[in-house]
């Protein structure tokens, strides 16, 4: 059980800015996963995270996809990822 709320993009109670940032993250990554819903508690941080990820790791990266994934997944493997 997460320690903070996971804001749902389809919930009318989700604040407008959080919903907007969630939909931006969805467009950038192709699907919404819970890290975005958790980060949506701090919409500005979610926006900054989405921009960074899109710039260095996803669509805007200078790397070939497999190289980006190797950098990302090796770190996750070393950290024995908690997700």
């Amino acid at each position: 059980m997460a320690r903070i709320p996971l804001l749902d993009e389809n919930d009318p109670a989700t604040p407008a800015e959080a919903r907007e940032r969630l939909l931006e993250a969805k467009r950038s990554r192709g699907k919404l996963i819970n890290i975005y819903r958790a980060m949506a508690n701090r919409p500005e941080a979610l926006a900054a995270f989405t921009t960074l990820a899109a710039t260095v790791y996803r669509a805007g990266s200078t790397l070939a996809p497999q190289h980006g994934e190797l950098a990302y997944l090796t770190a996750t493997a070393v950290n024995d990822c908690f997700y």
Partner: protein
Amino acid sequence: MQHLLAEPLPDGVYEPAETAIIAYARKSTRLEPIDDVTYGALAAHFSTQQIIDICMTVGLSNMVNRFHATFRTDVDAETLAEVAAGDLAAGTCPLPRPKAPG
């Protein structure tokens, strides 16, 4: 995924450029010094801009791992379903989740 921690890496699985990324990502994540050999291997295959993207992607992954460890984010049903269906690429973390502390 299972090879990424192997020491040494298995022969014939990774290209030299990929080996350079793995060696760097390990050291950076473990906060070990990035010695000239490790950096030199990256520089032999990648531009400065690409090395910056590699560096910041490793950092991004570490940030995400810390975020999950801090807030214990539940794995969403969609991802669990995809992993259960055998799509390991969908699983953001196909490694077994460790026992919760305490």
